[in-house]
């Protein structure tokens, strides 16, 4: 099977701060990492490659320094890497990004499955994966805990409220993948990193993938972010013990006192 994995370089969210006056992310000195959901998707794809054979190709979109996440994926075992990098892509929203990635994947060639992280930790939209499937006109299976292969088909364990469902899908298909509970992301070793430099790696512009420029970038995006702001700090929760009845009485008393409900 040929699997394409979409990866995104994101700021390490544990280090990100927002300037409360401007609403901008303070990116200076914040390390960049591979989006953890994409890392999980990549590990799933690499496991399938190890078990059943096939080929894993990475695709990312971003500035030249985003090569870092592609090379990391190559070091971990992917076969080929593609970075869509062009000023024309700058400021793209999820629709434009999905459009560009779909064009890039089409250029990669025969693809049986596309693995995406369920969402990215910087934007948290969870829209880009499904958007790619729509652009390519292929089915999608979202919120997958794990994807396996059975003969010619893929078998996905899909997370749903209160449990899971098993979905069988014929290729070509797109999966969005969750970070498993006990996920311990691997880091490539020194020789793996050294070896990754020799693997095929391509930088493609908007022209290379045949993308129409009016669908790209800030101008081509149907949505715009008007403002980013940190959520207000929550006050410390009050904890109390006792029976359910006592707890309900206590909560009612607080709500009355705060005049959320009438006396």
């Amino acid at each position: 099977m040929n699997i394409v994995v979409c990866v995104k370089q994101v700021p390490d969210s544990t280090e990100v701060k927002i300037n409360p006056e401007t609403g901008h992310l303070i990116r200076a000195g914040v390390p960049s990492i591979i989006n953890p959901y994409d890392h999980a998707a990549l590990e799933n794809a690499l496991k399938l490659k190890k078990t059943y054979g096939g080929r894993v190709t990475l695709i990312s979109m971003g500035p030249p320094q985003a090569r870092s996440v592609v090379q990391m994926g190559l070091a971990l075992g992917a076969d080929e890497g593609v970075l869509l990098s062009d000023m024309a892509f700058a400021g793209s929203d999820t629709w434009s990004t999905s459009y560009a990635l779909a064009k890039g994947i089409a250029k990669i060639g025969k693809t049986d499955a596309i693995f995406c992280g369920m969402q990215a930790i910087d934007g948290d939209t969870a829209q880009t994966g499904p958007g790619i499937a729509q652009q390519l006109g292929i089915p999608q299976v979202t919120f997958c805990e794990h994807v396996d292969i059975d003969g010619k088909n893929f078998i996905a364990r899909r997370h749903i409220d209160g449990g899971h469902e098993i979905v069988e899908a014929r290729p070509p298909v797109l999966f969005t993948i969750l970070v498993p509970k006990e996920f311990s992301p691997r880091c490539p070793s020194f020789p793996e990193i050294h070896g990754s430099v020799k693997k095929p790696y391509h930088v493609w512009t908007a022209d290379d993938i045949g993308a129409e420029k009016h669908y790209l970038g800030l101008k081509g995006s149907p949505t715009q972010v008007s403002r980013i702001y940190p959520p207000p700090q929550r006050e410390k929760a009050e904890m109390f013990s006792g029976s359910a009845h006592e707890a309900a009485e206590h909560i009612l008393a607080i709500m009355r006192k705060g005049q959320f409900i009438a006396e």
């Binding site: 870092s68 090379q71 990391m72 070793s189 020194f190 020789p191 990193i193 050294h194 990754s196």
Partner: protein, 546 residues
């Protein structure tokens, strides 16, 4: 060897940090330090190519390594030192032990031994030092005697004792320096050879996670093919050939451990409220315990990078530069760690906080791979020759270069660095005219002053462009302020200490004060407090409290 590309190097550093985060929490390191225990399992894991393969950095690709350049090795050594200097030493010892083979080995020896070290994840030790032979290796007493068979030298019997050998008790392979009939020579000794016995692990002040042991060699038979380079008498040359390079690694240790201690102090200072405000906002704290150290360590970094880039560019030797880098980074790192304890107050004095351990660990960097005093001597010797050969122009030319730089970039510290260099040129010339270098104290002190002036110039050069490599974590405003703080310190120290040095050694120093341009040095101190304020604010933003 040329360096890796920046992305590969970044990934290498990320993997190392991530490994340490998972496998080497401070609690474990503290317990191992307390128990004086070498973490053999951890080191083996770090050597495992499926996990990290850290030892492969030193080994060329054609022998199964990853061909790290000097710059890469400096960055990895700095990162290792931030984790634990004992573990860093365990890795460094293999780098160092492999060096004689890398430098002096025949093609066949490299094929055999470097491949073996790479494939079998061998831990290596470098066995040169003896009880009475440290930097004065010529005094070595370990002997290698010929074993002749059929009229040919078939091997050697090595007898002697080695002292303070890192990885001494745990290595698989040893490169041992011994006096052969043809002179000092390196031999490859395997752990299981008969007559070879490591002694107990030393109970040290610091780097207690690093195994250090004496070695006893009692008529150990080594086949002739284990003589490195297959030629006797090349040992000292082979040892000296790599000093520029190996001392840079120890410099990186001083830099990494010093910065780790300082960063902890900076983060702590934002949380500790005293007299209504955080310590990080008080000049009495920051301008004494934090900012000067940050400036000195960044000056050392600039010099390390300058030397590493020259070595990666194909230059050889650079012993004086290696010595300046080591001296500057380790002495300043040691002082930064000392003040980090002060900065944490009572907490810093307990073993619950890493600065106490860092302070004990970092002291070794001023001792091993040549003490700071040997560095002062080496620096003096190297640059005195340049002063004489150039008829006193060596530092004047460098000062002219600084003036030129100042004309185009006025805020990078080049002006004060130029004053420091002119003062240095004047002091050295006065020492020549009055033959003051007959005093050993003068020569060693000149070593210190040379290091100070050259690192100031190097820092100004590094700060000038406004765009920096990813090793620099500050924006141009803060980085340049640090350079100016350091350059002022250098100019003042050069003029005051230089004058005192000459006055102390002779009755006559007329004209020296004028040659040093003391009024200009004094004038250059203006703006120091404002720059320190700027630097203190920048350090607080860069290293936020967690």
């Amino acid at each position: 060897m040329p360096s890796m590309d920046a992305i590969s190097r970044g990934l290498v550093l990320d993997s190392l940090k991530e490994y340490a985060k998972r496998r080497l929490p401070y609690d474990l390191i503290r317990d191992l330090d307390h128990a004086n225990e070498f973490p053999a399992e951890i080191l083996k894991e770090m050597y495992d190519p499926a996990v990290l393969g850290v030892h492969l950095l030193m080994i060329p690709e054609e022998y199964g390594g990853v061909s790290g350049g000097t710059y890469d090795i400096y960055r990895v050594c700095e990162a290792l030192a931030r984790i634990d200097l004992g573990i860093a030493t365990g890795v460094f010892a293999t780098f160092l032990g492999t060096d004689p083979i890398n430098v002096g080995g025949t093609q066949e020896q490299k094929n055999k031994w470097l491949n073996k070290i790479a494939k079998e994840n061998l831990m290596v030790a470098y066995a040169a030092t003896e009880a009475d032979a440290g930097s004065d290796l010529i005094n070595l007493r370990t002997r290698a005697e010929h074993v002749v068979k059929n009229g040919k030298v078939a091997g050697y019997r090595i007898t002697g004792n080695k002292q303070w050998i890192s990885n001494g008790g745990v290595a698989d392979l040893y490169t041992v320096l011994a006096m052969a009939p043809g002179g000092p020579s390196w031999f490859i000794v395997e752990r299981n050879m008969e007559g070879f016995a490591p002694n107990k692990h030393e109970d040290k002040h610091g780097i207690r996670l690093s195994n250090t042991a004496a070695l006893a060699l009692d008529s150990v038979y080594v086949p002739a093919e284990n003589l490195i380079g297959l030629e006797e008498g090349k040992g000292l040359l082979q040892a000296q050939a790599v000093f520029g390079y190996t001392r840079l690694m120890v410099a990186a240790f001083g830099l990494g451990a010093g910065w780790e201690a300082l960063e902890q102090a900076i983060r702590y200072s934002q949380q500790r409220i005293q007299a209504g405000g955080p310590l990080s906002d008080k000049q009495g704290y920051t301008h004494k315990l934090i900012v000067p150290h940050a400036a000195r360590l960044e000056a050392a970094r600039a010099y390390i990078e300058y030397t590493a880039n020259r070595l990666d560019g194909g230059e050889h030797g650079l012993q004086t530069e290696g010595a300046i880098a080591k001296y500057s980074a380790t002495e300043n790192g040691n002082k930064a760690a000392e003040d980090a304890i002060q900065a944490l107050g009572g907490y810093g004095y307990t073993r619950d906080f890493p600065v106490e351990k860092i302070k004990r660990d970092i002291k070794i960097t001023c001792i091993y791979e040549g003490t700071s005093e040997i560095m002062e001597m080496t620096i003096y010797r190297g640059r005195w020759q340049e002063h004489l050969k150039s008829r006193g122009r060596w530092y004047l030319d460098m000062a002219d270069e600084m003036d030129k730089l100042h004309a185009s970039v006025h805020d990078c510290g080049a002006y004060a660095a130029g004053l420091a260099l002119r003062a240095l040129a004047a002091v050295m010339e006065e020492c020549r005219l009055q033959k003051l270098t007959r005093h050993q104290h003068v020569t060693f002190k000149l070593g210190r002053l040379i290091a100070l002036a050259e690192t100031a110039a190097c820092f100004a050069r590094a700060a000038a462009p406004g765009k920096y490599p990813d090793s620099v974590r500050f924006d141009a405003g803060v980085y340049k302020a640090l350079s100016r703080v350091y350059a002022r310190e250098a100019a003042l120290a050069l003029s005051v200490e230089g004058l005192a040095l000459v006055l102390g050694a002779s009755d006559n120093s007329s004209g020296l004060s004028a040659a040093m341009n003391m009024p200009a040095v004094q004038e250059a101190q203006k703006g120091l407090i404002a720059d320190m304020d700027l630097a203190a604010a920048g350090l607080k933003t860069t290293f936020k409290a967690k």
